[in-house]
Amino acid sequence: MARIVDLKTAIAEQVQSGDTVAMEGFTHLIPHAAAHEIIRQGLTDLTLIRMTPDLIYDQMIGMGCARKVMFSWGGNPGVGSLRRLRDAYEQHWPTRLEIEEHSHAAMANAYEAGAAGLPCAIFRGYLGAQLAEVNPNIKFIHCPFTNERLAAVPAIKPDVSIIHAQKADRKGNVLIEGIVGVQKEAVLAAKRSVVTVEEIVDDFAGLHPNVCILPDWTVGTISLVPGGAHPSYAQGYYKRDNDFYKAWDPIASDRETFRQWMQTHVLEVGPEVFAERVTFDGPTVTSRSDSAQED
């Protein structure tokens, strides 16, 4: 049953050094505030799972939280490399980083299998692709009806999944809308979960019956962190800070500049700073045309 607690408590309770942690959000709703809290609490030896490691894992890796990262695309979207990830993998700074690399299709299917309680996912994938030669977690099976060769990967079953969502209600039901990514699957696949939200409302009356809701009994803790996805975005609340994504590249390119930035903007502050980093759109938006008109 979901409990509403502050973010510091949530991370302290739900995440331990050595855990396998999935922090998801496909461009949208990336749980940056939660990542910063993990960094502040000094957690280490994490196995980090995420389709697109993005700035969030670049920061965690650069601060020495991770032992291993499992990913399918490790870049800064539209900008370039993840310099801290590369430095850790190539130069072992600040610590050695192991990688397990997949394709998006493989990871999406593996999360889906995790949510579905299966031990593995099968899909038509990795045909002629060399990742299958270097990653022992890519195998092949044959369809028992057609004999077609299909790729198989183990289900993703994190110790804890961490996501950012638009809203929770007081009971602990969580609403995600817009680009929903693999967050629902990540939470359902995990043993525990931490959710940060833009807003906690009394109830969800008036929503469309088929929206993406995680019922309260599938969620661990919920923490109110307005702006908590910045520099990612929360549809209906604030836009993606594309300038920050571009600005990150020079910050991350140098170890010392990076450390100083993290000191000032992460270590010496708390989750409350996120609200100041974004410009809220105004009234909450739940319909497509409304939000299109607001732009």
């Binding site: 496909f26 695309w73 693999v182």
Partner: protein, 245 residues
């Protein structure tokens, strides 16, 4: 009207898709080309981004694969597992647009590493959606600036299958989709030879020489029997492209 080589490349790519196409669009050049097509000759083209947005119509080019505008202007937005299962693997995409860090003449793509996988000289971002885009879409268009660094005899790592190291492996694996059929660069347009599965140049952009093309290609360039000159971007195309940025 003046235009850059980048604009020529984008415009040439945009002309390659049609109104009935369903395109799986990567960020950057493919996104620019597909949206340009939508704003010019293919108003009803369906654009799909791997973030889950189907039938999206952004007014400006998104920086990421999942900018808010992609969702706000989409017919519908589905989860990422559904995108890769029902839409990509389901065989509904007519054209997948891909780029590469390294590319060989059989359209094999490397976006993983330069050098050895376990001890790379350069660690690249990786495959993302491309390994399955390359085999699930009915046809693949490649868009990429030419250079001897990128256009290599043999890619260091096959992230995403083209026609295979000798041009035969795709068929031998029983992959039923067409694979790379067109390569649009800043210098020219290449098409795939139906027999050997090599790229051959079929159209050269205005002002570009065969020498320039060879100088920026790591293998011996083959030309089609008839090589056209690519029509320069017209004012409508350039205006529409510039309005997107």
């Amino acid at each position: 009207m003046d235009y850059s080589t980048n604009e020529m490349m984008t415009v040439a790519a945009s002309r390659a898709v049609s109104n009935d196409d369903v395109c799986f669009v990567g960020i950057g050049m493919p996104s620019a080309a597909c949206n340009l097509a939508r704003l010019t000759h293919a108003p009803d083209i369906t654009l799909i981004y791997e973030s889950g947005t189907i039938g999206t119509k952004p007014a400006t080019l998104p920086l990421s694969i999942g900018d808010g505008e992609l969702c706000e202007t989409a017919v519908t937005t589905v989860s990422v597992p559904e995108m890769f299962r029902y839409w990509l693997q389901g065989g509904r995409i007519t054209i997948g647009f891909l780029g590469a860090a390294q590319l060989d003449r059989f359209g094999n793509i490397n976006t993983t590493v330069i050098g050895d996988y376990h001890n790379p000289k350069v660690r690249l971002p990786g495959g993302g959606g491309a390994p399955e885009i390359a085999t699930s879409c009915q046809e693949i268009f490649l868009v990429m600036k030419q250079s001897t660094r990128g256009f290599v005899k043999q890619v260091d790592f096959i992230t995403s299958l083209g026609h295979g190291p000798t041009g035969r492996e795709r068929r031998e694996l029983g992959v039923t989709t067409k694979g790379p059929s067109r390569l649009i660069t800043d210098l020219c347009i290449w098409q795939t030879d139906p027999e050997t599965r090599e790229f051959v140049v079929t159209s050269i952009h205005p002002g570009v020489t065969r020498e320039q093309i060879q100088d920026n290609t790591g293998w011996t360039v083959r030309y089609a029997d008839q090589v056209d000159e690519t029509p320069a971007p017209d004012a409508t195309e350039l205006d529409a492209l510039r309005s997107l940025n």
